[in-house]
């Protein structure tokens, strides 16, 4: 049986901690700062993940993306050079028509991007990504102009190579700052295109290229502009979620037949893309949290320091306790508990501050406190208390009673 009982130990530890209130606050400050930053960073990381998940849900649900080159590595992260390979290699028209013929019950939408300057009577926007695609591309990617801002192009316009363009929100602002862009004319590679719509403001999702700075044209027009009929990616839109896996398999088989190299193309859906992005965010969050955790270590050293001071200050008390029957372990546990309480006070206050901080930034940035981060922060701070409390507690438990009693 533990003598003194755990309750008695807690009571006496709290009492000695409360005897030095300002010292307790200052000592816990290191842990408070550490835990606050850990909570804040994980909140931001988690919020970001949720935000992106929501974005993806609103975006390409039920869509399968077929890209040339290897986009993902075997661990589900992005392959090295994977994204850039999407830009430099392409599918041919044959790939597209082949898929279109073989895959039933799905819409096959090709996309071919042109990078070019767009000029209006007001300004020229340089090197803009202009995506050429079909009449369904707008709906699938949720970039259709909303009512009052024009419209997407039709199948007929695509087939007839009608020179029309839909501008992203920002690009429309830049080209036509004074009035609505709809109905105006722009010049791309010497060709005059009529603006028939402006997409709603999307913002930059996760540091990637902003959809607001892109423009969209019928793919047949894009072929004319680039002089090539390459296709950079193919979107396969299935009727419902359950078809995603089987259709992906189908596409993979077809493409393997054609290329005989599984690294020559990639077939993925948004969930895969999402998990890749999430794994990047997780890495970032872990990295940043790790840096923040350094301050926990610093806080722990602060606790060790003050506990060593406390042991010295209370040398006579330790001597007395030993003289009246405290065995070394009882002293050890007493000081250890004090250290753990100090760091847990720090942890608790830190969690509170982290929570308040998260609430404070919520209006400006997606952030979300998770139970797991709270548990983690609390666990880490108690471990810090134990680890950094051991040395002072051992010192206390090893004091010789007579020397301790003689201590002035």
């Amino acid at each position: 049986m533990l003598k003194p009982s755990f309750n008695d130990l807690l009571k006496s530890s709290f009492r000695s901690i409360l005897k030095n209130k300002s010292r307790t606050v200052l000592t816990s400050l290191g842990i408070i700062i550490g835990v606050t930053s850990v909570i804040l960073l994980t909140s931001i990381g988690n919020g970001l993940k949720k935000y992106i998940t929501d974005q993806f849900d609103s975006l390409g649900a039920n869509s399968i993306y077929v890209s040339p080159g290897k986009v993902f590595n075997d661990n589900g992260g992005f392959a090295q050079g994977g994204v850039s390979s999407m830009m430099t290699t392409s599918f041919t028209q044959k790939d597209y028509s082949f898929l279109k013929r073989k895959i039933k019950n799905a819409e096959i939408i090709p996309a071919s991007a042109v990078f070019a300057n767009i000029s209006s009577s007001f300004s020229t926007q340089k090197n803009i990504e202009i995506d050429g695609s079909t009449e369904n591309f707008g709906v699938i990617n949720n970039i259709e102009p909303s009512a009052g801002n024009g419209r997407w192009f039709t199948e007929e316009e695509n087939n007839k190579k009608t020179p029309v363009i839909i501008l992203g929100y920002q690009i429309a602002q830049d080209l036509f700052p004074k009035s609505s862009a709809v109905g105006k004319k722009v010049i791309v590679k010497g060709k005059t295109l009529k603006v028939i719509g402006v997409s709603d403001k999307k913002g930059s999702s996760f540091g990637g290229p902003s959809l607001d700075k892109q423009a969209y044209i019928p793919i047949e027009v894009a072929y004319d502009l680039s002089g090539k009929t390459d296709i950079q990616s193919i979107i396969v839109k299935v009727k419902n979620k359950d078809l995603i896996e089987t259709t992906k398999k189908e596409i993979t088989d077809i493409m393997l037949d054609r290329y005989d190299d599984k690294d020559a193309f990639s077939v993925f859906d948004s969930s895969q893309l999402l998990s890749s992005i999430n794994s990047i965010i997780s890495m970032l969050t872990i990295g940043l949290t790790g840096i923040a955790a350094i301050s926990l270590v610093v806080g722990g050293i602060g606790i060790m320091n003050i506990m060593l001071v406390s042991v010295t200050e209370r040398t006579r008390e330790i001597g007395l306790r030993k003289a009246v029957g405290a065995y070394p372990r009882a002293i050890l546990i007493q000081f250890l508990i004090e250290a753990v309480i100090l760091s847990c006070i720090g942890g608790g206050v830190g969690i509170l501050f982290g929570y308040l901080g998260t609430l404070a930034i919520k209006p400006f940035f997606p952030a979300q406190v998770t139970i797991s981060s709270v548990i983690l922060a609390f666990g880490v701070s108690s471990i810090v208390g134990i680890v950094f409390g051991v040395a002072p507690a051992r010192k206390a438990s090893k004091l010789s009673p007579i020397e301790a009693l003689r201590y002035e």
Binding site: M1, K3, P4, S5, D8, S12, R15, K19, R316, E317, G319, L320, R321, K322, A323, V324, G325, A326, Y327, P328, R329, A330, S400, P401, I402, L405
Partner: protein, 237 residues
């Protein structure tokens, strides 16, 4: 039959056999205790006296199991304490011995009652009984109205009485007091000594106290005089 001979017939509670305690500072050696042997019987009231630096505190620490002898044997109720582990010694100090110090050594900012109860934290006494034991002892030492006072709110004599109550809390067989009146005015000192006498006579507790004051030492049944680490004479009252 004299009192001393009757004591000699009673049980030996503590025995030192040729105990030597050597302190080494640098190259020089110093024997704080030099081949000291003594017996303390149950129910005795013994004083240890001698000039300062004579080794009386060292002797007290060894009797109190707070320090180990360099050589020789210490037998407490027949048990050789050299063979005991640290936590066993702590247990004996807790149950068998009660300490009273010159500096009182009460925990600051802690009530009298809690100071008295301190040794019980390390004992097997059930929690529900503790409060009552402490209160009874404080009443016994005449501090029935000072349960919640902290040491800073008590006079020296009152503090020492709290310390005596603390020493008694586990009902020890031996009370060890190191200059218990050293920090007190003469009147408080007398009261404390009177209290020790009562404990000895009425309750039959063995009391060993250290003092440099020869007059005080004479109040004991037996006085052990120590000089340069050697027990030079034993006088019976």
């Amino acid at each position: 039959m004299t009192k001393s001979s009757s004591l000699n017939n009673s049980k030996v509670i503590l025995e030192l056999k040729s105990v030597t305690k050597t302190y080494i500072t640098g190259a020089s050696q110093f024997n704080a205790l030099d081949n000291a042997s003594l017996k303390i019987h149950q129910g005795e009231f013994v004083s240890i006296t001698g000039p300062s630096g004579s080794g009386k505190s060292t002797l007290m620490h060894i009797i109190g199991l707070l320090d180990n002898p360099t050589s020789g044997e210490v037998l407490l109720e027949g048990r050789d304490i050299a063979k005991l582990k640290e936590h066993q010694l702590a247990q004996i100090r807790n149950i068998t011995l009660g300490f009273v110090f010159q500096q009182f050594n009460l925990l600051p900012k802690t009530s009298s009652l809690e100071n008295v109860l301190l040794p019980l934290l390390y004992s097997d006494v059930p929690k529900k009984d503790r409060q009552k034991i402490g209160i009874n002892l404080l009443i016994k030492v005449g501090l029935e109205d000072k349960f919640n006072n902290t040491p800073a709110q008590l006079s020296g004599g009152q503090q020492q009485r709290v310390a005596i109550a603390r020493a008694l809390v586990n009902n020890p067989k031996i009370i060890l007091a190191d200059e218990p009146t050293g920090n007190l005015d003469s009147k408080s000192g007398e009261e404390i000594m009177k209290f020790f006498h009562q404990l000895n006579e009425k309750e039959g507790r063995t009391i060993v106290f250290v003092t440099h004051d020869m007059d005080l030492a004479k109040q004991a049944n037996r006085t052990i005089v120590i000089k340069d680490g050697k027990i030079s004479e034993e006088k019976y009252a």
